[in-house]
Amino acid sequence: MRIRKIKIKNYRNFRDLELYPAQTTILIGENNVGKSNLLHALRLLFDPEARRLESEISEDDINDAARSEGENSFSITVEIGDLQEHQELEANFMPRIAQDSDETYVTIEGRYEPDEVGEYSFKVLVLSPEGRYNDPIPFSDRMRRYIPLYYLDAVRDARREMRATGRGALAQLLSDVKLEDVEEDVLTNIRKANQALSQNQDINNLAEGIGDLLSPYIPGGQGEVSMTVATEDPAQLVKGLRLTLRRQSDFRAYDMYRHGTGLQNLVLIAMFRHRISTAGAIQPILAIEEPEAHLHPQAQRCLFKNLEKIGGPVLLTTHSPTIAECSNPLGLIRLTFTDQNQITAQQIDQSKMVKDDLKLLARMMRSGHADAFFARAIIIVEGPSEVIALPAFADQIGHRLDRDGISVVPANGNAFSCILRSCSSDHFSIPTIVVFDTDVLQHSNDLLKQAYKVGLINKEARNAGKNAPAELRQRILEEVGWIPAVLNFEEEVARIGYLQLILEVIEEAGAMLSLENFLTENDLRKDPHGVAQFLNEKRRKSLKVPVAYAVAENVETVGKVPHCFERAIKEAVKLATGGETAIWG
């Protein structure tokens, strides 16, 4: 079973939202963009407590913009697919199943609208399959029972949830527990423990002391006060239970709340999942808000992989790149504000992606650059050197990349097109700035090929660049807005005053002799160009990262920022904050 499609019209901050979840869907987006509203919309249809949630719906849930344009209803439409895999689900929805080649699916729609006399109500229907001429039928409680959505809130209080009393998760799990078979045994032992405790003189004194002072107020003066390890009241037995954990390294088992908050979060998710697995639903839908709470990255990754194994649809909201980076690129959905202050959902449209692009993208995400998709603008650069130095350059010219939501992503040679494509308006719609090295243009047409692949230039331009001088290639790329660095990063920085710094790094690495030899052999001087050529030799690549760090650490002292990067940063800031249309328009 899968969720094929979600369409929301006029609900809360969604004017018209459409998205296509994957088996595991990661919802990202800034605070306030409506990630929780999206999950809440799904809960109105599928939560076992939907009836209660329904009663809380009011006209205030209709989108403001829609209301100001005279629309007075909202709708939530969800397609549930791959029913053919489950006999029970096909039986459940027997009268209104649609077909899409081998896949069977149903369309469920919740509508909140006024009737003839203006009274509002929320109705959930199974719609008539497309191309058929029959009426929708009510989405019954029985139907809901087979595809329930279980929701775990972002604001969770592990301590409250782990109490055996009240409405917490543990209390719910314990509500069906029967203890009859061991009750007698357990009580006998508790009695024994209580007796053992009362052998203690201090305890005895304490209890008696209280008892003496209390007895004048007890009718008849009869009563015995005692301290106990646990209650001897069978009815209270379950309520006294507590969940403990003893790790391998621990000497004894500790109450859950004595462990760290991260572990508590994991315990909570485990209880949540246990409740689902014992609820006996055929295909539950899981919706978890910010599962990463208090977890270190490895635990996040581990948790994610476990959630993925559940098999049913999982929807997560997250602010964690660590969670995002585990995801299939197709499962990443980004909610963003449009210019009209509406929300849209952006995600990779599989039909418009080349297979290799998805692979490259997944690789890029796993290599620690998934944060790019949380960004408001991206600067795509050649490699790690720029990634290291750019934040420092930005500081120098008075911008904060993190604050403005700008990510710097390395293309590492061949990933320009896949990043660009996934950021295009068909997909994630993230404005991008590209800074490229011009030295590669001299012996390869590759950058033009990349630009052509994303559709920035046409075939003629690409062919014109073939075998043409590097200058022409550069001009073509500049025309589409790409920013050229003079030959490469090292040459750029060396030219504006970082040469001495670079030479120090080479000296430190004990490579000065090699540099001298290289310069002599190639008839070069110890100037920015000669040194940059040396650093870009294949054998010397290992020097580039220390150079980049040295540059980054000394920007303030040197006080210079290469022109191309300054331009890139300023444009990115403009795109990220100034509301200017992205270059993809």
Binding site: E88, E90, A91, M94, P95, Q99, G131, S140
Partner: protein, 590 residues
């Protein structure tokens, strides 16, 4: 009520295929109900899968729902109690497009159908009347034959007319009753998708009155039953009296063979007293080709069987009505427990006139034009409640008809009682309701009947059909009241089978039971009908009509005939009477 060993066998067989041969009065409905309950109790079909229970009439479906209801059954979304036609309509209404039928089709009304047939009969030189053409088309659909398929028995002109007929219907997005079954079967055969969905849902199949099924209905049940975990096909070939409209008596044995079913005979008669059971066994046992089944009466009472010949129909009527009067005075409380059964409608005349003369109230259902369906049952109970909104009995009846009609579920899982209370409150709120036979419309409007029909019907056309049916019922109420000079409540009472002697044809009598039965007009030539005398098969069917009529009686049956039957001098008593030896008859005192 307990179960006999064989009934218990039927109930407990929750998997595998069974054919149950159920004689008259053997507690068939009780057994089926217990069985359905047992299947759900033992969870032999898993949620959310369901059970299909097919009956022959809407009335039978409602009786079954009512029984299940009274036993506390609540899983209505997992059980389909329906007739073949409404099942067909449901399937086509869900996925008809797969064979080119729009799901929002409507069912053609009979006067429109007649108009089309009349036009075709005029346009094509076929040489017979339009209604004969209509029954020929019906027959073709019962065989599942549509234009474009090879068939031997239609002449070129007829097949052209048939083609045009179907074309006109399709063009107007109409289906006739034959289509509902034939096309549903076609859809189930041709679309793997639809077949999968429905056979996957219905994991158990129960069918009643299987001896009345035709070829397509047999096929429909085969399609559902074959992949199911089990089936219970109930029938009695001895009670098959609808061969003239395509029923195949042998289907009971055919389905047994197709599914490899085990046969169980329910031969104990709980209904009739000894002498009636034994006499009936003699009559039916006379058929040499019949498969032998033992019939035994459970009742320890002997019961009464009378035989009497009269000079003519007037004499017959005079005495029969005299006996009816005596019966009403001495034996039964409700005249509805007395039935006058006749082979043919025309033999009713004398008896009805005599009852009018003497002042015995009678009721003839065949005079009514409306179909007995959930909306009429509900409307009648609403009319009752309108007479006394404080009556808990009447409220209960409204609730029961809501439940029997399966309405609470269709109206969105509301409780039947909720709806009944809503109806009551609406009635209470509307003061000054005139409770006269010509004012039923206002009563129903006040109760919100229009909205109920709109919400509970299967689409607009279904709702329209039901509204029309209600209108027919209102007319019937009016004319019945006028004819007998009775009030609204009396009419409603009669429509539900109480307060008046029931006058029925042999075919109508099927399924009913009465304390005392007057089976009149039993002349050789009337029963068996003179057309059948030379045809062994037809004669056998006539014998079964006699058998069915006789076995309706609980305590007493009168078999009468007139020597000078109308338009025929020196008639002989029916040959079937002669198969019952003298010792079974009690003496008649004239």
């Amino acid at each position: 009520m307990g179960l006999t060993p064989n009934q218990e066998k039927v109930v407990k067989a929750t998997t595998g295929h069974y054919v149950v041969l159920a004689g008259p009065g053997c507690g068939k409905t009780h057994t089926i109900t217990e069985k359905v309950l047992y299947i759900f109790e033992k969870e032999s079909i898993q949620e959310p899968h369901g059970l299909l229970a097919v009956t022959f009439t809407d009335y039978a479906a409602r009786v079954m729902r009512a029984r299940l209801c009274s036993k506390g059954f609540r899983q209505w979304n997992r059980i389909w109690v329906s007739t073949f036609h409404s099942l067909g309509r449901y399937i086509l209404g869900c996925y008809g497009s797969d064979i080119g039928i729009r799901e929002d089709f409507e069912i053609i009304e009979s006067h429109k159908r007649n108009m089309i047939l009349r036009k075709l009969a005029n346009n094509y030189p076929i040489g017979f009347s339009y209604d004969k053409l209509g029954s020929l088309f019906e027959k073709l659909k019962r065989e599942g034959i549509y234009p474009g398929q090879d068939n031997d028995y239609s002449l070129p002109h007829i097949s052209k007319a048939y083609e045009e007929y179907n074309h006109i219907l399709r063009e107007r997005n109409l289906l006739d009753f034959g289509d509902l079954v034939a096309l549903a079967v076609q859809l189930l055969q041709e679309s793997d998708f639809v077949n999968r969905l429905f056979t996957n849902f219905f994991r158990y199949v129960v069918v009643d009155e299987f001896q009345d099924t035709d070829k397509q209905q047999l096929e429909m049940i085969r399609i559902f039953a074959e992949p199911a975990v089990g089936s219970t096909i109930v029938g009695d070939d001895d009670q098959s009296i609808f061969e003239w409209r395509g029923a195949l008596r042998q289907n009971v044995y055919k389905i047994k063979e197709l599914l490899g079913s085990t046969e169980i005979v329910l031969g104990q008669n709980f209904r009739s007293d000894k002498v009636i059971v034994e006499a009936a066994a003699k009559v039916i046992g006379f058929d040499p080709k019949r498969r032998k089944k033992d019939m035994k009466s459970v009742s320890r009472r002997k019961g009464h069987l009378y035989r009497c010949g009269f000079h003519d129909a007037d004499d017959e009527a005079e005495y029969v009505v005299k006996w009816i009067k005596e019966t009403l005075e001495r034996i039964v409380h409700d005249p509805g427990d007395v039935a006058v059964i006749v082979r043919n409608h025309y033999r009713k005349r004398w008896i009805v006139q005599e009852m009018d003369r003497i002042g015995v109230s009678w009721f003839d259902r065949s005079r009514l034009r409306f179909q007995d369906s959930w909306e009429t049952a509900l409307a009648l109970s609403i009319v009752e409640l309108a007479h006394d909104p404080t009556s808990s009995l009447f409220l209960y009846r409204v609730m029961a008809s809501v439940e029997e009609g399966g309405l609470a579920y269709r109206l969105g899982e509301k409780d039947a009682l909720d709806l009944a209370l809503k109806i009551r409150d609406s009635l209470k709120a509307s003061e000054d309701l005139d409770l006269y036979p010509d004012n039923v419309r206002d009563v129903l409007n006040a109760a919100g009947m229009a909205e109920i029909i709109r919400d509970a019907s299967a689409g607009i056309s279904d709702a329209r059909r039901r509204t029309k049916n209600l209108e027919k019922m209102m007319k019937d109420i009016f004319s019945e009241a006028k004819k007998h000079q009775i009030g609204l409540l009396d009419v409603v009472n009669r429509f539900s089978g109480h307060g008046a002697v029931q006058v029925l044809s042999g075919h109508q009598a099927k399924g009913g039971e009465f304390d005392v039965v007057f089976f009149i007009g039993l002349e050789d030539g009337v029963l068996p009908d003179y057309h059948s005398h030379d045809d062994e098969n037809k004669l056998a069917e006539e014998r079964r009509i006699f058998y069915v009529g006789l076995t309706r009686a609980r305590k007493a049956a009168y078999l009468t005939y007139a020597v000078n039957r109308p338009g025929w001098a020196n008639a002989k008593p029916s040959r079937f009477i002669k198969t019952i030896s003298d010792e079974y008859f009690s003496e008649v005192i004239l």
